[in-house]
Amino acid sequence: MSSSNEATVSGPPHAHHWDPVTAYHGSKLGMWLFLATEILLFGVLFTAFAIFRYLYMEEFHHASQYLDWKMGAINTAVLIFSSFTAVLGVDAAQHGDNKKTFRWLCVTVACGFIFLIVKYLEYSHKAHIGLFPFIECNDHAQFCWDSVEFKNEFKMYFGLYYCMTMLHALHVIIGMGILTWALLKAKKNRYSTDYYTPVEMGALYWHLVDLIWIYLFPLLYLVD
């Protein structure tokens, strides 16, 4: 949904009914509004996390021990760096340098891939020890998602963990899609100092993804 939304927000250069400058500022305002909805979308999860962390402090603390903070820290660094490269992509586009834009955005998308790979490693480790929904309980695993003991031991920490990180990972994937679309335009030399809306919008979206992870990381991995 969001990717096609992007496609429409930015529009072609010189949309028929408004001038390019207004179109640029309008698109940016639209994007900020969309980001506002994203913040509230995650906000519900943050609120649920906050109240249950307050109620089940010990269970949450205990559960967070099963996350590897090193993995989280790596992903944080990767995302921050990718935000940096994304903004350099925008900077290059602002100077009308399509080649540089293309290169920086490629790096950003690559960082997205690294993030997802690390996430996959984390998930698969969890699945191995039974800390994952959707898998059958088996004797090798340490835990069983659907068991009463599991719920009592961790309360809803892992449920929230997966809701939050999966939603975030979905946003990473969508963000990569938008940036890929934007960098393909750079490949075709579509940007100039007068028009670089897709890069700017894609980067804004990508920064939001980064911004949310900045909160997720200490909340989930370092909470105590």
């Binding site: 400058v21 207004t22 943050f46 906050a50 900077d91 980064d210 990381f217």
Partner: protein, 118 residues
């Protein structure tokens, strides 16, 4: 908030020097390290979460202000960037107003007189 938005000066986005971006990126990395170090070594009880969230907020502000160019945006953008955060605090406020202040109600203890004399 006047009707002149349409006829703004011809410039598009604000151009920020490279070294500002670099400085922001480095600060973000450093703050990440600080978050981890503080969380792993310092123990100030329930303040840990507050410290972690404060650092996260500083990082988030840096991203928003410089990477997202919020610093150079008009008041309307500020309004709609700030509004969801206000609403989020409202939502949290309402829920934290409710849950911790709920009265602890206990059912009455039943002494079953039929069973008692067995």
């Amino acid at each position: 908030m006047s009707g002149h938005d349409n006829s703004e000066h011809g410039e598009l986005g604000h151009i920020v020097p490279f070294k500002v971006y670099l400085a922001v990126c480095i600060s973000l990395m450093v703050l990440t390290v600080i978050t981890v170090v503080v969380a792993e070594t310092v123990d100030v009880g329930s303040w840990n979460i507050v410290v972690a969230m404060l650092i996260a907020s500083v990082k988030a502000s840096l991203v928003a202000l410089f990477f997202m160019h919020l610093k150079f945006e008009d008041p309307i953008t500020w309004l709609y960037a700030g509004f969801p955060i206000v609403l989020l605090f409202l939502l949290m406020g309402g829920i934290f107003l409710d849950n911790p202040t709920r009265m602890e109600v206990k059912p009455v203890e039943v002494v079953d007189t039929l069973k008692a004399k067995e």
